[in-house]
């Protein structure tokens, strides 16, 4: 009768039955099953055939001299072909010698201070005469002839006497550890410790050795801990904790704690945060650990110890999640650290997070987010700010306008410039600009050219004026040609704003085009050109204005206004001439008095006499 595979014993049980390892009830049960299960019988048969098949491989016979060779090697140990670990490489011997020397100095120092060292209590033989023995060993291992030639000793009865001179096993282990460096990898030293432990069972396993040596003081202990954690992290936890708790090498324990279980790492890190001397290392480790639980503690430390601001910032930016961004922003707001590099390195998730915060806050509460986003040059922020300006631009305070203008200029680009142009709508064509010219330095003339094109397409006269004005402020002399084209182009709607914008460029190149525009057939254009020349304030325009003063009676008020605004002595003859025209006499007289500081009546002859008396070179 056959059973289903479901009733069959597990493969390991069936194999245990095959190996005769089962007993009692279990053995009977499997036996009964096998009797009625063809599949299991076949499997047992297969196992049997496999064993027999493998055994066809004959045992390799050693030749007749095997025992003799072994005994010869044992009887003449120093000449043996296979050397113990500490004699295999000259480098190792040198490292061992150096390590012994370090141990000797350490022991001497401890004895000198009368320190009852824990390590020395554990190794009384080292405490008794460490320097003397270590020096002896140093002399022995330093003699290359002895090491390299392995002189044949006299015939010895007791094989133990032929062993090479050696340190005590624990000292040997310490020396090995001092010579070890993490870059060497762990395998070789671990194996050497294992060999040592095999040869000297009384010192216990390599694990036990590291556990004991790791809680000592000194360089061997530090390396013992490091090797222990590198090779057996699951077993090293308690030792590392002990080293930390007893302040033996707390900074080393802290450095290693991340390789332990998370619970142990957490305990050590939490404890270390309460100890000021360990805080900096702990903070670095917390960054690597990446646990958001520590964020509030880091925030508190940042307030208490501003000098750790950058260390904390680096740690926080390694911790995933938005809580860490909250902390970063708070630290930035309080001046503990500059969050910009951290946010920049976090990339789009950080930007998105800041944008969300910006969207969910009122403008006056979001200055931090706006500042950071603009410093990060985040273009999508322009859209958010633009919407915000649309909604509340009537109610913006001058501080808020400044924040927004600064942010937009930092972000740069065409959209930012276009948004910025909205502020100019309200400033009026020749009113004081709310824009600090330095803000516009971040834009390039391509942006200015884009704004001019945009102005040509705009249906809103205020927008047209604002766009062209901003283009002029950004593009300066680079856009004079384009603005001049608009000022005399077919689209008359653009004439006035373009002429006004020419005045905003502040560029000497604009004087010529504006001079040409003084001959425009349209009176409004000529008036606008006069105002623009006044805005430019370039005295090169004075002769052209003087000529126009004589020619065009309708434009006299604007010309006199422009001449007085130059605040230049080169305008005096023109202003004296203007005293002859009744409609502008008072304004010209006031200008002359202000300019010269001379109180004469508003009569041209009096002023001409005064002018003739002045030395020529002054005029």
């Amino acid at each position: 009768m056959n059973t289903t595979p479901r009733d069959c014993p597990a493969p390991l049980i069936l194999e245990a039955h095959f190996d005769g390892l089962l007993e009692g009830q279990e053995r009977q049960s499997v036996r009964r099953h096998v009797k009625r299960c063809a599949a299991c019988r076949a499997e047992l048969d297969r196992l049997d055939r496999l064993t027999k098949l493998c055994r066809v491989l004959p045992a390799s016979e050693a030749d007749a001299g095997l025992e003799a060779r072994i005994l010869t090697v044992l009887g003449a140990t120093p000449a043996r072909p296979v050397l113990p670990w500490h004699q295999r490489r000259p480098l190792r011997v040198a490292a061992l010698a150096a390590a012994v020397f370090v141990l000797a100095v350490l022991a001497w120092w401890l004895n000198r201070d009368g320190v009852d060292s824990e390590s020395l209590r554990r190794t009384p033989e080292l405490a008794e005469e460490p320097a003397a023995r270590a020096t002896d060993e140093l002399v022995k291992v330093e003699e290359p002839e002895e090491i390299e030639e392995f002189p044949q000793p006299p015939e010895l009865e007791d094989p133990s006497e032929v062993r090479p001179p050696r340190l005590e096993p624990r000292d040997e282990a310490r020396a090995l550890l001092v010579a070890w460096s993490a870059e060497d990898g762990v395998d070789e030293t671990w194996r050497a410790l294992n060999e040592l432990s095999e040869t000297h069972p009384e010192i216990g396993s390599a694990t036990r050795l590291l556990r004991e040596l790791g809680t000592e003081t000194g360089p061997a202990a530090v390396n013992a801990l490091r090797l222990f954690v590198a090779h057996e992290p699951s077993k090293a936890g308690r030792t590392v904790e002990q080293v930390f708790d007893e302040s033996i090498h707390p900074e080393v324990a802290l450095e290693l704690c991340l390789k332990l279980t998370p619970a142990r790492a957490r305990r050590i890190l939490s404890e270390a945060l309460t100890r000021p001397e360990l805080q900096e290392i702990a903070i670095r480790q917390i960054g690597e650990f990446g646990d958001p639980e520590y964020l509030s503690a880091l925030q508190e430390i940042a307030l208490e110890r501003p000098e750790l601001g950058d260390v904390i910032r680096s740690a926080v930016q390694q911790i995933p999640g938005t809580d860490s961004l909250d902390v970063l922003l708070e630290l930035h707001a309080r001046g503990s650290t500059n969050a910009v590099p951290a946010l920049f390195s976090l990339g789009e998730p950080a930007f998105q997070y800041l944008r969300n915060r910006l969207e969910n806050r009122r403008l006056e509460e979001a200055s931090l987010e706006i500042e950071l986003l603009s410093r990060l040059g985040d273009r999508p922020t322009v859209g958010l700010l633009s919407e915000r300006i649309d909604r509340i631009h009537q109610n913006l305070t001058s501080d808020e306008r400044t924040i927004l203008a600064v942010a937009l200029s930092r972000i740069g680009g065409f959209e930012a410039a276009r948004t910025l142009a909205r502020f100019l709508r309200e400033d009026g064509a020749y009113g004081s600009s709310s824009l600090d010219p330095s803000l516009l330095l971040s834009f390039d003339s391509d942006v200015a050219a884009g704004l001019i094109v945009q102005a040509g397409e705009s249906a809103n006269p205020f927008e047209r004026a604002a766009l062209l004005r901003l283009a002029a402020l950004i593009g300066r002399g680079d856009v004079v040609g384009e603005l001049f084209e608009l000022a005399r182009g077919r689209d008359r709607r653009l004439h006035l704003p373009a002429i006004e914008a020419l005045g905003e460029t502040g560029a000497a190149q604009a004087v010529g085009p504006l001079g040409q525009l003084l001959s425009s057939t349209r009176g409004d254009d000529r008036r606008a050109a006069i105002r623009a020349l006044a805005r430019l304030g370039d005295v090169a325009a004075v002769p052209r204005l003087a000529e126009l003063l004589r020619r065009d009676a309708r434009l006299r008020p604007e010309i006199v206004e422009a001449l007085t605004s130059f605040d230049s002595e080169s305008t005096i003859p023109s202003l004296i001439q203007a005293l002859s025209y009744r409609d502008v006499r008072d304004r010209a007289h006031a200008g002359l008095v202000t300019l010269t500081g001379v109180e004469l009546p508003a009569r041209a002859k009096d002023w001409e006499r005064w002018l003739a008396e002045q030395p020529r070179e002054e005029h």
């Binding site: 194999e15 098949l53 390799s60 060779r69 090697v73 069972p201």
Partner: protein, 186 residues
């Protein structure tokens, strides 16, 4: 008294005398165990020169450590443990070397001149199948199949738990069955 028990008693006596400094007693241990140990090591590594080095290293270590041997396991188990550790080290080194440089075909490495000519096809297949086992599975399989040690004894030799040994043995058998399938079917 069984043969095994008698053999254990002989070992105990020789070990006690060797610990007291008797070279004859140590020689007795060498004579009793050197050849089986040689066969074991050769099955593990498959190379005569390597076996020779391993056996000498093993006995050297036994010689150095015997005065501290406390008899918590049998001498044979202790001896095989030391030998297996030596093999593992050599195996690990070889693996590292192979990782650095492309390994030649296993048969070329294992077979010595003339030897493969003597071995029949079956023997060669078994040899290759054992060579292809990973380190621990190979030790467990050789100790179980050839040395006929129980999982508990193997556990002592290899420093593992008996349950772990059974798992390694199971995996080794599966792998051997797969590699030797044509011969098993035949």
């Amino acid at each position: 008294m069984t043969t095994t028990e008698a053999s254990l008693q002989l070992d105990d006596r020789s070990v006690a005398a060797a610990k007291a400094g008797s070279l004859e007693a140590f020689e007795e241990l060498v004579r009793r165990h050197a050849r089986p140990l040689y066969a074991y090591l050769h099955r593990l590594c498959g190379d005569r020169q390597e076996t020779e080095d391993l056996i000498q290293e093993t006995w050297l270590r036994v010689h150095k450590a015997i005065e501290r041997f406390e008899g918590r396991s049998s001498f044979r188990t202790w001896l095989y443990r030391i030998a297996t550790n030596r093999f593992r080290e050599t195996y690990a080194k070889k693996r590292r070397r192979e990782r650095l440089a492309p390994a030649p075909e296993p048969d070329e490495v294992r077979s010595e001149p003339g030897e493969s000519m003597r071995l029949g096809e079956l023997e060669t297949a078994v040899r290759s199948a054992i060579d292809r086992l990973p380190g621990k599975q190979r030790s467990v399989a050789v100790l179980s199949i050839y040395e006929e040690l129980t999982p508990r004894d193997i556990a002592e030799v290899l420093g593992l738990k008996a349950e772990t040994v059974r798992v390694h043995l199971h995996l080794a058998r599966k792998r051997l069955q797969r590699d030797l399938d044509p011969f098993l079917e035949a």
